[in-house]
């Protein structure tokens, strides 16, 4: 028995070597893993928590009508008199956050009403029936819409006297 026992411990050096190799491998794995995985991974779930903050960092292109109306309150008041009150400024005028940031040097382009108005008001059978639609070719024959209509208050009565238009 005793003879056998010494035999068992005689070869323990092999086991120790194996254990050392395993410990080194585990430590290396843990170190590598912590180095490779981003710090915020798992903050909210199985993803990088910092990605949420990164998504909020994207610049804004459309300022929003509240920002427009802070300066252009006269236009806002005029719009309130007509049906276009529900249409936000940038729906027609385009993204103007840069103009809002620097009104002096970023000047919005003048709009071509033959294009801008037609986008909504050109007749199409898929449009809701109650929505005002015209076939531009028949309605105006290519004349710019703002010859007769005021885009901010499109109903014709006032425009007739101011711009002298017909129809």
């Amino acid at each position: 028995m005793a003879h056998k026992k010494t035999n068992v411990f005689k070869d323990i050096e092999h086991l120790i070597r194996l254990a050392v190799v395993i410990v080194i491998a585990v430590v290396a794995f843990v170190v590598l893993r912590t180095a490779v995985i981003p710090r915020s991974f798992g903050q909210y779930g199985h993803y990088r928590g910092a990605a949420i903050a990164e998504a909020t960092a994207h610049p804004v292109a459309f300022a929003g009508h509240d920002v427009c109306e802070a300066c252009h309150s006269d236009v806002a008041d005029q719009k309130k008199l007509g049906k276009h009150v529900v249409v936000a400024c940038e729906a027609c005028h385009g993204a103007l956050a840069r103009h809002a940031d620097d009104p002096a040097s970023v000047i919005p382009a003048k709009l071509d009403t033959t294009i801008v108005c037609a986008r909504c008001h050109e007749a199409n059978s898929a449009k809701p029936k109650g929505f005002r639609q015209v076939v531009a070719a028949d309605h105006s024959g290519g004349i710019a819409c703002d010859t007769c209509h005021l885009p901010h208050k499109p109903k014709i009565e006032v425009a007739k006297t101011e711009a002298g238009g017909k129809k």
Partner: protein
């Protein structure tokens, strides 16, 4: 201190590690915005949509969506009489420049704006092998473009066809519900420019949001409810032919 070759070799990896931590620093989030206080969704009122394409153009501009790809788009449906199962659907350039006049005005014609449904149980986030796409605590499905491998699993998994691979970055891209805007108190670019109010951003966790009253009093559907994705884009007045 002389910069010997030995020192440089020691310093370079150290500098690289330090730089990685600098880059990993979280950008400043919007102040006063609490993730836990919101649960975002969108309401689309089909009878109000005029197919003008304002939303598509605004989305492209706000989010720098590459030409020919869409985070939101408009479809025009044509249903001939009883053929509800065989609607004719078209979306020329995503409806970006509106739609040409219909050849036929018979049958039923209407527009359906589409975008990511920001599903609560989204299939796309479940298939991502690396955790690059996820539902945020405030209910928006986002892609971490710095972590995405571009493996396209999510593109295939989305039942609504809302994802694509950005040809420049080669990573998955989709509607973020203008996350950079809604966290600042703005509405999304598409909702901002929609001239008829056919699209409205809604916060389901805000008890004062008119969405609750609307959902209670209208016939509202989500797309592909049988897929149980927990879609959060609600369609009012949607015809049964819509896929």
């Amino acid at each position: 201190m002389d910069l010997t070759r030995r020192r440089l070799l020691v310093l370079l990896p150290a500098a690289a590690v330090a730089w990685k931590y600098v880059l990993a620093g979280t950008p400043e989030a919007s102040p006063n915005y609490k993730l836990s206080e919101h649960w975002w969704s969108m309401l689309i009122d089909i009878p109000k949509c005029i197919g003008c394409g304002s939303c598509v153009r605004a989305c492209a501009q706000e989010n720098e969506v590459p030409e020919g790809y869409f985070r939101t788009w408009i479809e025009r449906y044509h249903v001939a009489d009883w053929k509800i199962e065989r609607p004719e659907v078209e979306s020329p350039d995503g409806g970006k420049e509106g739609f040409p006049p219909n050849e036929t005005s018979t049958g039923k014609n209407f527009f359906v704006p589409k975008l990511c449904n920001h599903c609560a149980d989204s299939p796309c986030t479940q298939v991502c092998p690396v955790g690059a796409t996820f539902v945020t605590p405030d209910g928006v499905v986002l892609v971490d473009k710095n972590y995405c491998l571009g493996c396209r699993y999510c593109v295939q998994a989305c039942p609504y066809g809302c994802r694509f691979i950005n040809p420049k970055t080669k990573t998955a891209e989709k509607c973020t519900l203008c996350y950079h805007r809604i966290t600042k108190g703005l509405t999304t670019a598409c909702c901002e420019v929609c001239p008829t109010g056919a699209r409205q951003l809604a916060d389901l966790k805000n008890p004062k949001d008119p969405i609750h009253e609307f959902l209670r009093t209208h016939t509202v559907q989500v797309l592909k409810p049988h897929m149980a994705t927990g879609a959060k884009v609600f369609y009012n007045g949607m015809d049964g032919s819509v896929r």
